[in-house]
């Protein structure tokens, strides 16, 4: 009997929970959809009023000056409940779409309608997602008075809150916001470094200057991230500082500095980058070669040709890639490299000529009416055939649309001519 009772109780309990779950699912969905519908309808009413307050100009008003609290007038009062939710959604949507004066007025709307106060309270909530949410929204509101509170949140025990605070500081900008972000670069998580670095990359001069000041006390990972940021900021004032890092003892810092100089793309540090092609550590040589390609100066052709003979594959590969980017002079250097003594240099040259499509042009030139062009193409193809790198040429000999080119290429591949 006891077993029966237990089973009956279990049936009632599981059945009850089950019914509650099913009904809960349906009610929840119905409630959600009803709420969305009501919000949509309310939005249709409030959005035009708010937009006209955001885009209003003083001269368009009857008195010739804007009211002190235009947004409260627009929505009737400080919004609560549904109105608060709808108004906040409208402001958030438009904040990402507008710039200039309209963007500033949206920030003013957040402040005037009491949202900033609400978010500031939210930063002290016990639930981490409320703190994170409030931190994020303060950035959206660009609430300048929240900088101090957000800086305090950079020490929050939950990383998500710290990251939201960092993001918002990036939105608000200003010197006070930059400093804690640069310090945060030193945190061990790559995720944290990445996000803070991205935030700083969008902040401009203030970030660049703060990084240069903070450099001596930055940890190694923070320095590496900082070099990336300086590169992305594209500030010519940073070139001298980054070039100095090329002389550091840490190979990773030197490599990252070379990369940053390439990203900035200014021709000034070419001599330093050329010297770095002789660095003892191959990652520095590889990044310098890549940077020279990015800068795109013809002065780098000769050193890059030498780098084609480097004992490290990555250096050779980056040097060939750089030559590929240097236009006709780089391409000619690659063609010349086909006769280089060094087999690795020759190999890389073929690879790049294939990738740029230059080899395809030489194949087409086999049918050229201009003797010089035809002879040049035949000579180059013989060199490649001699090296045994005939996969691409073999395909062309089978598939090239022009039969004269196919035949001639076939002959060259068979070594008849």
């Amino acid at each position: 009997m006891i077993a029966y009772r237990i089973l009956v109780i279990a049936i009632l309990a599981v059945g009850g929970v089950l019914t509650a779950l099913a009904v809960g699912i349906v009610i929840n969905k119905a409630r959600r959809e009803a709420r969305a519908l009501a919000d949509r309808r309310r939005r249709e009413v409030l959005e035009p009023r708010l937009l006209s307050a955001i885009h209003a100009e003083a001269r368009q008003t009857p008195t010739g000056s804007l009211p002190e609290t235009p947004f409260r007038l627009a929505v009737g009062a400080v919004p609560h409940g549904r109105d608060a939710r709808v108004v906040e959604a409208i402001l958030a949507d438009h904040a990402t779409r507008v710039r200039g004066v309209a963007r500033e007025r949206i920030s003013q709307a957040f402040e005037e309608l009491g949202f900033v106060d609400r978010y500031m309270d939210g930063l002290r909530a016990s639930r981490w997602w409320r703190r994170a949410d409030s931190a994020e929204r303060l950035g959206l509101a660009r609430a300048g008075r929240a900088v101090e509170a957000l800086v305090a949140r950079m020490e929050d025990p939950v990383s998500e809150v710290r990251m939201r605070a960092a993001k918002s500081l990036g939105e608000i900008r200003g010197r006070a916001a930059v400093r804690p972000l640069v310090e945060a670069l030193a945190r061990p998580s790559r995720w944290s470094t990445l996000r803070v670095a991205d935030i700083l990359s969008r902040m401009g001069d203030e970030a660049a200057e703060e990084i240069r000041i903070a450099w001596p006390r930055l940890t190694r990972p923070a320095r590496l991230a900082s070099l990336d940021i300086l590169g992305k900021l594209h500030r010519l004032e940073s070139i001298g500082f980054i070039t100095g890092v090329l002389r550091n003892s840490d190979a990773d810092e030197r490599a990252r500095a070379a990369h940053a100089l390439g990203v900035i793309g200014h021709a000034g540090p070419i001599p330093e980058l050329v010297s770095a092609l002789e660095d003892t550590d191959w990652p520095v040589r590889a990044m310098s070669a890549k940077a020279l390609g990015r800068i795109g100066s013809a002065d780098a052709v000769e050193p890059l040709v030498r780098a084609l003979r480097d004992k490290e594959w990555w250096v050779r590969s980056n040097a060939a890639g750089a030559l590929k980017r240097l236009g006709p002079r780089g391409q000619q250097a690659l063609v010349d490299a086909l006769e280089d003594q060094d087999p690795y240099a020759r190999h890389q040259a073929v690879l790049m000529l294939e990738e740029t499509g230059a080899l395809g042009q030489y194949v087409s030139a086999l049918d050229s009416r201009v003797d010089a062009e035809r002879h040049a193409a035949e000579r180059l193809i013989r060199l490649i055939v001699g090296m045994g790198r005939i996969d691409y040429l073999g395909d062309q000999a089978r598939e090239y649309p022009n039969f004269r080119v196919r035949d001639r290429l076939g002959e060259l591949l068979e070594g008849k001519a």
């Binding site: 099913a22 699912i25 994170a132 990445l194 990336d228």
Partner: protein
């Protein structure tokens, strides 16, 4: 003691055993559900914020090599690659591995992407069948195609790993569709815990019934056929309340082969994908766990509940049987191969929780279920059946099964809400109830048969009729889908 007493004794003890087994299994399910509930809500709260644009634009995001093994996929391969090229991600390369196709897979690729042979470095970090050629495209610099001798899916993936440039690789089935932001979502654990995360997988959802245009799911709906709807409910339960829970307790044994990201150097260190198993995805994850535990390293194998991969599931019992037979056989092969992990404290929670669970409940569960039905029939034949007790027990078991399905639907409704229509919601609720009456029993029988095949060392992938994502495409012959 006569045979009747013996039978009564057997039935009594067996019933008692089944009762405890039932209680233990359902307690585990309940705990997993509660753990998953907490984790899914946590995940939703975290993804409420808009991070993905930042991950995509950042130069510091890990670049990924997407590996697409393809064997006789001429009808879908171009569309699959097109959909992969549209993925929202910063730096990635796509490597298609044409694994000895006998149809026009390679030709279709060459025509569509103007491929030509290229001279790429192919490091044999893992031994594979010979590579015939590597193709690249001038127009699509991030696309490479390996043409190789047939060696199976594992061998193809290993070849892709050998050619890949990046530190992470993502395995994708050629017949699956990855959502635009899926990579961004699933790479996040690697960014948050770069040293610890070695593998991450995402949820696989069912594409039958969905509208697919140009390699993208443009309208989500439940399938029209009954069998795939059962699988929708089953997948929701398995992914949202199963894998999420195992992931939280750091004991996730399976990342779906249809969509998973791995750290390349760790996979190479364990020898890549195994050839001698029917489920290379499960075997790889188990080996990764084993190697990390033996090395005493802190690591994570993570399940991320939102990055979605859409795949087609069997719509006939015959094909479903083949698919589940292979999955279960593969699981048994891996469990047998790594039997030293069973209750071995050296393997931590994995050896003491996940592995025993898989042995006791996943391996023997179907037997006990089938034997339970046989015992009921035997008891009835012998006149031993206490009908009231049986009916009450059956009611508890069925209601609890329904509870787990409905709980998974609740999780879905409160978090991701991929099925927006009321009709789909009611269908899901209805099938959450119905699946307990025939579908689950059929799956138990399939698994018993798979156990028998495992003992006979039978190995095959089976074939299936797949209709393809495009409704106008004619049915074609292809291998049973690997995804789960």
């Amino acid at each position: 003691m006569g045979w009747r007493e013996l039978a009564i004794g057997f039935v009594y003890w067996f019933n008692l055993f089944v009762l405890f087994y039932f209680l233990a299994l359902n307690t585990i399910y309940l705990v997993l559900f509660l753990v998953s509930l907490r984790e899914v809500f946590r995940f939703v709260r975290r993804t409420f914020f808009s991070d993905y644009g930042q991950i995509m634009q950042s130069e510091m995001t890990w670049p990924i090599s997407i590996l697409v093994p393809a064997h006789n996929e001429e009808k879908t391969i171009v569309e699959t690659i097109r959909s992969l090229q549209m993925i929202n991600y910063g730096e990635f390369e796509i490597i298609v591995i044409n694994d000895g196709s006998t149809d026009g897979t390679l030709l279709r690729l060459r025509e569509a992407y103007d491929l030509g042979r290229v001279d790429k470095v192919y490091r044999r970090s893992i031994e594979t069948e010979p590579v015939r050629a590597i193709y690249g495209s001038l127009e699509h610099s991030n696309l490479l195609v390996i043409d190789k001798e047939k060696g199976g899916k594992s061998d193809a993936l290993n070849a892709g790993i050998n050619l890949s440039r990046y530190p992470l690789f993502c395995s994708v089935d050629a017949d699956s569709i990855i959502e635009d932001n899926a990579l961004l979502r699933v790479v996040k654990p690697f960014m948050e815990y770069p040293d610890e995360t070695i593998a991450a997988g995402g949820i696989v959802r069912i594409a039958n019934g969905c509208e697919v245009k140009e390699g993208r799911v443009v309208r989500i709906a439940l399938p029209e056929q009954i069998l795939p709807i059962f699988q929708v409910v089953e997948y929701l339960r398995a992914f949202l309340t199963g894998r999420v829970g195992w992931s939280v307790v750091r004991s996730l044994l399976l990342i779906s082969g249809a969509f998973g990201i791995y750290k390349k150097k760790e996979v190479i260190a364990v020898g890549g994908y195994a050839h001698d198993t029917d489920t290379e995805d499960l075997e790889l994850v188990v080996r990764l766990h084993e190697s990390m535990r033996l090395a005493g390293r802190k690591y994570r194998v993570v399940f991320v509940p939102d990055p979605v991969c859409w795949t087609e599931v069997p719509s006939t019992w015959k094909i479903l049987f083949r698919q589940r037979n292979r999955w279960h056989r593969g699981m048994l092969q891996s469990l047998w191969r790594h039997k030293r992990m069973f209750l071995n404290p050296r393997y931590g929670g994995l050896g003491l929780m996940a592995y025993p669970y898989f042995v006791i409940f996943e391996t023997f569960g179907p037997f006990i279920e089938v034997l339970g039905y046989a015992a009921v029939i035997l008891s009835w034949a012998l006149g031993l059946l206490n009908t009231t007790f049986f009916l009450l027990f059956l009611a508890v078991a069925v209601l609890y099964g329904i509870f787990l399905s409905i709980a998974a639907i609740l999780l879905e409704e409160m978090s991701f809400r991929r099925y927006p229509s009321w009709e789909d919601l009611f269908k899901l609720l209805l099938f959450g109830i119905l699946e307990n009456f025939f579908y689950r029993q059929a799956l138990a029988l399939f698994k018993v048969k798979a156990f028998w095949d495992f003992l006979r060392r039978k190995r095959h992938w089976g074939r299936m009729d797949r209709s393809g994502f495009k409704k106008q495409a004619p049915p074609e012959q292809a291998e049973a889908p690997a995804s789960r």
